[in-house]
């Protein structure tokens, strides 16, 4: 089977075969955030960066402050790449269609669904996942608050909830209960732990502002 498929239209050719091969930083054209100067191929304004279906291209992702280089297909979602390619399974996948929030990560500090984000679209952005909230091996503030307030049951929605709260607190350090509810309203919890998530978000806000840290 393996050998025949290459002849097919949509065959996945190994390596990089896009029209404008750019060295350095993956798609490179806007590769500023990676700190590596963009090296453009030919810069005719009428020709964009094109990657054919099924082809893989190298990208550099900045995840939790670490640069990771890997090959991706255009259709690979960030959730898929995190979970199955990089085996960073703190990010969960509940629906793969923007309807549950389990895959929530921060993209440039803003919560987003990684299942609805093409990996190529996340290039040059700062990606933060659950693992990135750890302080060494210790839980970060929001994670600790979730532990203290028992803000989870099965724990499968939890990474997404934690990231939603983290994102909320980064933009709004002192949210009201209504702001908290809205802030996590894009994260389903079938175990129904919402009341504790609200409490945990409050506590995390307090912790982050350096008031207390206890209950």
């Amino acid at each position: 089977m393996e050998d025949n498929h290459r002849k097919k239209k949509n065959a996945a050719e190994p390596g990089v075969t896009r029209r404008h091969f750019l060295t350095g930083t993956g798609l490179g054209a806007v590769g500023l955030a990676t700190g590596v100067p963009a090296v453009e191929g030919d810069t005719k304004t009428d020709s964009a960066v094109v990657i054919e279906a099924g082809q893989t291209v190298p990208v550099t992702l900045q995840i939790n402050g670490v640069r990771k280089r890997l090959l991706v297909e255009p259709r690979w979602s960030l959730a898929y790449v995190l979970r199955e390619q990089l085996v960073m399974t703190g990010t969960k996948l509940g629906c793969d269609r923007g309807e549950c929030g389990a895959c929530t990560v921060l993209v440039d500090d803003v919560p987003r669904y990684s299942c609805m984000t093409l990996t190529l679209e996340a290039e040059d952005s700062k990606i933060t996942t659950l693992e990135g909230l750890l302080d060494g091996e210790e839980l970060g503030d929001v994670q600790r608050a979730f532990a203290e307030k028992d803000a989870f049951q099965c724990g499968y929605c939890t990474p997404g909830q934690v990231m939603a709260v983290e994102g909320l607190l980064r933009s709004n350090p002192d949210p009201s209960i209504e702001e908290i509810r809205t802030g996590v309203s894009g994260n389903l919890c079938r175990c129904g732990t919402y009341p504790n998530i609200f409490k945990a978000a409050h506590l995390a806000a307090d912790m982050k502002r350096g008031r207390g840290g206890g209950s």
Partner: protein, 770 residues
């Protein structure tokens, strides 16, 4: 139908009786505290590996081709194109060797096979593929050409029983004789009544939708199979897989350390389990098969919906004279349990001598039911708690008062045997007090568009006693750390935390020093699946016995060193001391025999439940709603759950269950329903989380209160715990419906209650009044 059907498949082994003497706890030091979970770090840091997170070297991804029709026969199936697709490593169809596997041969429903040529519901498995990436697996599925002979389909139980209805099975659509129950003389009971009310109720089919989809990773090493399955019970998966693949139990290892929710839908294996195993065998590579969200909505279980007619009679003083209940439901295409336990509340909860119930189930072209959090109970409760309110109104009684006048201390449905304990009265009374029921009920109605009302409901749960078998092993190591080994899964209810607290209680070791091995058939003891609200009452006595076994051994060894009778010795925080002679004390570490052995191993078993008695949890829930009469919007403002589940073993996880059950009940009450395209294709139109709506953070009140009614049950088992996970969701929706009635005067008999239904009812109500 037995209680056990709801959490077990296959025979349940026995365990010996425990040999330890276990006095009832009077005061506890650890048990009952509000302590963070023992696995909080794992679950919050990302260190916990859920089955869907498992990633093995050279792992392939499997995907299942599913029938897109509600009813169809597979005429032909062509995989030639798929075989040529990039990354494809294996394809399974009905033609593939080894796929002729009976599906659920132990079930009482009709027979089927893994890839049945007749697809009786949308989403039935037709073929499967393994490929290098999940994208490639799905690409390959898209190229498989199937010619279906599309057959007429039937989507609801009424239609299914009509003459000339399309036949789901050759023998027709009836799932057998209706199940019936009768006690006393119902006709006489109604004759004796001063007031009689009767109403027809309807509830939709609901879906479990745990956050982690169903699936597993399968890996073979020679003829030994290891499965990482998202399951509530690893031993169920082991026995079912071994039977299906004709393997010795010893050769099937199932690991399910974490599971992202199940709610009853992960008690048994799925076809995906066998498909993963077969694909892994064929490719000699590990294979991961996790279903898409859409698939999980189609084919891994649902909570049966249906219609219910309930008639109730009572004397002027409120005492019930008769209850008559009739239900029609469906377990889908294969399960005969379409109305299973719908009638349990009616039979057992309120004192009534004359009760008749009947449940009729029909096969329809839809996915099979699976137990969902308190099977049958929320449906029956929807009818019962509403009819009681209607009866109370007719009698001029407060709804709470009516319930208080119909209390019982015996299980009427079990022939009148006493409960080991019932705190139902306290749930009602103390719940009402804490909620401020009387004042809220007495509040005059508002006259604007925004109106408020309060409602309540009570419940019992058939199971929740737990029982044998269960074996636990506690190892006490030389450094004072402890290893607990048990088979049970922690489905999020906090099983691990509760059991660690039990060990800590008996052995005086801090929780951080306790390590738990669980949910792995290769390394842990047999346990029944976690479900039925029975995990804590089942496992905690066994764990306690194992800890006590350890303790006894340590004390015997210490007695030799201290030259003192073992009966005088106590163990606390790593120290053994005599209660009579304070000079007789030593650190556990220093016990000479223990120093030589380095480990003490305690084994504990779950003893039997008391004979001739029933153990059940009880609850009352109260809520306040606000209805916008112009738009039909219903907002739940606050909720209180007063639960008698025996001893509160762990306060945080206890309260969390109460919140979670109420949240799920709000979903049932206000928004959830499976929608099939009944009049046309029979296909499900809302098979995603956007159209099948479950509650978000915006739909639940921040003010949910958990009020434990901690009744000391000295008989039920040695920890005094009863189940909690299901009663928490039984009366919730009915309480909301009662509150909506209180607010608006409109009784919504069909769930869910939202603008799509309520507005027209409000308009009709206004017209009647005008």
């Amino acid at each position: 139908m037995t209680e056990a059907r709801y959490y077990e498949r296959g025979p349940i082994p026995e365990t010996p009786e425990p040999k330890q003497r276990q006095d009832h706890w009077t005061a506890t030091k650890v048990v009952g505290q509000a302590l963070p979970r023992v696995d909080a770090y794992q679950r919050l840091s990302g260190a916990a590996i859920y089955p869907s997170d498992v990633n093995l070297p050279e792992m392939l991804y499997g995907a299942v081709l599913r029938c897109p029709h509600a009813h169809a026969k597979v005429q032909s199936l062509d995989t030639t194109a798929a075989e040529q697709m990039p990354g494809v490593r294996a394809i399974l169809t009905a033609e593939s060797p080894g796929t002729d596997i009976p599906w659920q041969p132990e079930s009482e429903g009709p027979a089927s096979v893994l890839f049945d040529s007749v697809c009786r519901f949308e989403g039935e498995a037709v073929a499967a593929v393994a490929a290098a990436t999940p994208y490639q697996a799905h690409d390959a599925l898209r190229t498989i050409r199937v010619v279906y002979d599309v057959l007429p389909a039937v989507s609801n139980p009424q239609a299914a029983l009509e003459p000339g209805a399309p036949k789901v099975h050759p023998d027709g659509n009836s799932s057998g004789e209706p199940s019936t129950y009768e006690r006393g003389d119902v006709n006489a009971g109604f004759d004796a009544a001063d007031a009689v009310v009767e109403e027809t109720f309807a509830v939709p089919f609901l879906l479990h939708t745990p956050l982690e989809p169903h699936g597993c990773v399968a890996r073979w090493e020679g003829d030994k199979l290891t499965l990482w399955e998202s399951t509530q019970g690893v031993y169920n998966v082991q026995s079912q897989t071994a039977a299906a693949l004709d393997l010795p139990l010893s050769h099937v290892r199932v690991i399910g350390h974490y599971v992202g929710g199940g709610f009853g839908s992960k008690l048994a294996i799925g076809k995906y389990t066998l498909i993963a195993a077969l694909l892994a065998k064929q490719t000699a590579k590990p294979v991961k098969v996790f279903l898409s969200r859409e698939e999980t909505l189609l084919c891994v279980g649902n909570r049966p919906g249906g219609t219910m007619r309930l008639k109730a009679g009572a004397k002027r003083d409120g005492s019930l004279t008769a209850l008559e209940f009739e239900a029609l439901g469906s377990g889908g295409a294969y399960s005969p349990y379409g109305t299973g336990l719908f009638d349990w509340q009616i039979r057992d909860l309120y004192n009534c001598s004359n009760v008749r119930t009947k449940g009729q189930s029909a096969y329809i072209n839809a996915g099979e039911e699976r137990p969902m959090r308190a099977p049958g109970h929320p449906q029956g409760s929807w009818a019962l708690e509403q009819i009681l309110d209607a009866l109370a109104e007719k009698l001029g009684l407060d709804p709470l008062e009516l319930r208080l006048r119909n209390l019982t201390t015996v299980s009427q449905a079990r022939g009148g045997i006493p409960y080991t304990s019932t705190g139902f009265k306290e749930c009602l009374e103390e719940g009402a007090r804490a909620f401020g029921w009387a004042a809220a009920r007495a509040r005059p109605a508002a006259d604007g568009a925004l109106v408020r009302g309060v409602g309540m409901g009570g419940c019992t749960w058939i199971a929740g006693a737990g029982g044998p078998p269960s074996t636990a092993i506690v190892k006490y190591f030389a450094d004072g750390s402890v290893n607990l080994n048990m088979g049970a899964s922690d489905i999020g209810t906090g099983t691990k935390t509760v059991m660690a607290m039990v060990v800590a209680e008996e052995l005086g070791v801090p929780l951080e020093r306790i390590q738990i091995e669980h949910a792995d058939t290769g390394t842990t003891e047999f346990a029944t699946a976690s479900g039925g609200s029975k995990t804590v009452p089942t496992e905690s006595p066994a764990v306690r016995a194992a800890a006590l076994d350890c303790k006894e051994q340590l004390l015997v060894m210490a007695a030799a060193d201290l030259e003192t009778p073992v009966g005088d010795l106590q163990l606390h925080e790593g120290e053994v001391f005599s209660s009579r002679d304070s000079s007789k004390r030593m650190a556990v570490k220093e016990i000479s025999q223990f120093q030589r052995r380095r480990t003490v191993v305690g084994i504990g078993y779950r003893g039997p439940n008391p004979e001739g008695k029933a153990t059940c949890p009880f609850a009352a829930q109260f809520c306040e709603v606000e209805v916008d009469k112009l738009t039909g919007e219903v907002r739940v403002l606050r909720f209180l759950g007063a639960h008698d589940s025996g001893r509160v073993m762990s306060r945080l996880t206890y309260d969390n269950q109460v919140y979670g059950g109420i949240v799920m009940g709000i979903g049932f009450g206000l928004m959830e329903r499976r929608v099939l395209d009944e009049k046309q294709t029979g296909k499900m139109v809302n098979r995603n989380w956007h159209d099948y709506k479950i509650p978000t953070a915006m739909d639940v009140p921040a003010a949910i209160e958990s009020l434990p009614i901690e009744i000391q049950d000295l008989e039920c088992n040695t920890t005094g715990a009863k189940g909690l996970g299901e009663p928490v969701t039984i009366p919730t929706a009915a309480a909301i419906a009662n509150a909506v009635y209180h607010a608006t005067g409109v009784r919504v008999t069909e769930a869910p209650i939202n603008p799509t239904r309520l507005l027209e009812l409000l308009a009709a109500h206004d017209q009647r009044r005008a």
